[in-house]
């Protein structure tokens, strides 16, 4: 077999159904094989960044490994933002890059870049394949590393002569890497300690992170929270890990979290963190974070534990298995639910007071469309059943606050890196992975322009994605910081020129719609949701609307600016 044939064979054996990519000289042999392999669908993007984000959105929405294929040099460097985005949010993606022939490596050959060097700090691992016979093993290892442990992107650099060389194809059914042995099973003693802390606490909060979604621990989490009657808050990445409409949900915490989530965490005596990494957007000023709380921290990655906050009970392991173990103890001890309720009764009363004092709210307007209203309407009209991708900025935060995500893998958002331009290509990946489902991208007028070229990709694939642009004419989130912390010096945040998004949609052959007044929102959204093709909705919102509550960067999470 040739190397190129081996690569495609390996993809088939890994069960890959779709690849997002862009060809070039260094991968032309692989493309030649794909031509003969109809069982693998190839989605031709318009920019390699789009391919990386699409593979990422596919992975986030399906739980499978996303695959992206690009050529050497600029093709490879164009994926770097996408790789870093996936890395920060622990998303399993395999990126295949072409490379110049091995004998030219290091010679500054045409379209040569040291992509393994460039991506070393933003991949879970990467490989440069030097011999054709190594291909099956390396590709098997790449998928294995991407999806196991704490998932992440893995890049495989494929020199052209390796693709063209010949060797026998030996597919390893099992792979064991002596230096990579993630720990899945939690230490039983630690889980017992965690249980005892829960039993003795009076003001507990469960903090749900993206790890709950990655490990599929949402059912165990729900069972535990209901049995013990625990309040639950989510990080941005944890949204959907616990039902947002559940009476025990406090919504999101952190910089743009709810008042009651931040107050509950700040006043708690015990935090059960599940697959969250205590990012600065969650903790605010670390020294002032939950000063009275003991912390139980479940995470598959030991480096996440004790990195930002001190932890009393570290539990290294898979979130699902750890919660199973904890539930098992709960059942064995068999404390009646009534006692748990009794134990947290005062605490819940306090939380209800906070909820009543500052609910998540905004001022309605008769003149201007309020973005929060748009998201609420969208939630209502889709009955919360859509897969919602977001861009980055205010649009992202309003979506996180007002679309009550009930199920895992329904919010597709760039949390760790905060990548503008992520949402739309990610929505393409999500729609490819979920053909029958409604996929929406909530966008900003700035972000959507960062990968607008993928409109053509979506049209070509016949994807009926709905792009809802919350158009404020501003780089809104930056403007909000300037308004609040830089005395309204609006430096470089106002677009003097914006395209006519309706005409732009039409130019791509998509449906373009617009709403400029509050009463137009519902009919326009309805029309968009009924459309069976790519639809772009330009919604002109109140230009200077802010996202609140807000914890100023570096301040304690109790120092919220409310509406």
């Amino acid at each position: 077999m040739t190397g190129a044939q081996m690569i495609v064979e390996a993809l088939k054996r890994e069960g890959v159904e779709v690849i997002f990519g862009y060809p070039g000289g260094a991968v032309i042999d692989i493309y030649d094989e794909l031509y003969k392999t109809p069982e693998i669908k190839h989605v031709l993007v318009r920019h390699e960044q789009g391919a990386a984000h699409a593979a990422d959105g596919y992975a986030r929405s399906t739980g499978k490994v996303g695959v992206c294929l690009v050529t050497s040099g600029p093709g490879a460097t164009n994926t770097v933002t996408g790789i870093a985005t996936a890395y920060m949010d622990s998303i399993p993606v395999v990126i295949l890059t072409g490379q110049v022939p091995t004998k030219l490596i290091g010679n500054d050959a045409f379209q040569e870049v040291d992509i393994t060097g460039i991506t070393r700090p933003c991949t879970k691992h990467n490989f440069l394949v030097k011999r054709t016979e190594d291909l099956p093993w390396v590709l098997k290892a790449a998928f294995h590393i991407a999806r196991t442990g704490r998932p992440g992107p893995v890049l495989v650099d494929l020199p052209k002569d390796v693709q063209q060389g010949k060797a026998e194809f030996h597919w390893p059914e099992e792979i064991r890497l002596r230096s990579y042995q993630p720990v899945y099973d939690p230490h039983p003693r630690q889980v017992e300690r965690a249980y005892r802390l829960l039993e003795s606490s009076t003001r507990p909060v469960v903090l749900v992170g993206g790890g709950v979604i990655a490990s599929g621990a949402h059912e165990e989490l729900l069972e535990l929270a209901e049995r013990l009657h625990l309040p639950v808050t989510m990080t941005l990445m944890g949204l959907g890990g616990f039902p947002g409409t559940h009476p025990q949900s406090l919504g999101m915490l952190g910089m743009h979290g709810t008042y009651y989530a931040n107050m509950a965490v700040a006043n708690s005596d015990l935090i059960l963190a599940v697959g969250a990494r205590f990012d600065d957007r969650v903790t605010g000023k670390v020294d002032a974070f939950a000063p009275m709380a003991k912390i139980i921290h479940i995470d598959i990655d030991p480096t996440s534990i004790q990195k930002n906050v001190r932890v009393d009970v570290p539990i290294v392991g898979d979130c699902k298995r750890a919660l199973e173990k904890l539930l098992q103890i709960v059942k064995e001890v068999g404390r009646p639910e009534k006692i748990w309720r009794e134990q947290f009764k005062d605490w819940w009363e306090q939380i209800e007071i906070w909820k009543k004092r500052y609910p998540l709210t905004y001022k309605q307007d008769t003149e201007y469309i309020k973005p929060q209203f748009v998201i609420e309407k969208l939630y209502e009209l889709t009955r919360g059943e859509a897969i919602v991708a977001t861009e980055v900025g205010q649009n992202q935060m309003w979506t996180a606050q007002y679309y009550k995500f009930d199920r895992p893998r329904t919010l597709i958002t760039s949390g760790g890196l905060g990548t503008m331009g992520f949402g739309f290509p990610a929505a393409i990946g999500a729609q490819m992975g979920n053909p029958g489902k409604l996929v929406i991208d909530v966008a900003g007028d700035g972000s959507i322009q960062m990968n607008i070229q993928e409109m053509a990709t979506a049209m070509e694939q016949g994807l009926p994605i709905k792009v809802i642009i919350l158009n404020n004419g501003y780089l809104g989130m930056v403007r909000q910081w300037q308004e609040l912390f830089y005395e309204r010096r609006y430096s470089a945040v106002k677009f003097q020129v914006l395209p006519d998004f309706v005409k732009l949609a039409e130019a791509y052959g998509a449906l373009g719609l617009r709403a400029t007044r509050p009463e137009e929102v519902e009919p326009v959204l309805k029309q968009a949701l009924e459309s069976d093709r790519l639809t772009l909705v330009d919604i002109h919102i109140a230009p200077e609307e802010g996202v609140f509550p807000m914890v100023p960067a570096g301040r304690a999470t109790t120092e919220m600016i409310l509406v």
Binding site: R120, P121, L128, R178, S179, P302, Q306
Partner: protein, 165 residues
């Protein structure tokens, strides 16, 4: 928390990117490297690395965990935490040796059991091996005579076997 020097003994896969990954981890996360020493082990597929770093307890914990997280890293031991270990470093020191000082340099070599490995009309090159304290002492004593150049290997370390049966 107090900063402390730690000597880490690391076994890594002998692959092209492994060392770059480790170096990148330290620079990317702002950890210190005082010295780094790498060589093959008896098993040619593994390299051994002795790394001297500084930090408080939490930082050292992070460094060790981050090292273990690298796919190519097989084993990390904080030698400093072991009860007994041997540490050694070697230095080559080119020292000025004029007529009046040649005898003194040789005497010092004798006391510290250093070897003269190269001689020129105006210099001696001396090889010193030992724990860092010894190297430091030799360097301090030779400084007034005039050190022209110095090359050090960085520390290597190994856990001592238990003596009791």
């Amino acid at each position: 928390m107090a900063e402390k020097k730690h000597t880490l003994s690391v076994l890594v896969e002998n692959t092209p990117g492994a060392l770059a990954r480790i170096a990148g981890l330290f620079s990317g996360r702002g950890f210190n490297i005082d010295s780094l020493c790498v060589a093959e082990t008896l098993d040619p597929t593994l390299s051994h690395l002795t790394l001297v770093t500084r930090g408080d307890e939490l930082i050292i914990e992070q460094i060790i965990k981050q090292l273990r997280r690298l796919i190519d890293v097989y084993k990390v031991v904080d030698v400093t935490e072991e009860e007994e270990f041997v540490e050694r470093e070697m230095a080559l020191i080119k020292v000025r040796a004029e007529k009046e000082t040649r005898a003194e340099v040789l005497r010092m070599c004798d006391i510290f059991r250093c070897k003269v490995v190269d001689v020129s009309p105006r210099t001696y090159t001396i090889e010193v091996t030992g724990p860092q304290s010894k190297l430091q002492a030799v360097i301090e004593l030779l400084k007034p005579i005039g050190i022209k150049e110095i090359v050090r290997t960085g520390l290597i370390a190994m856990k001592r076997e238990k003596k009791s049966v």
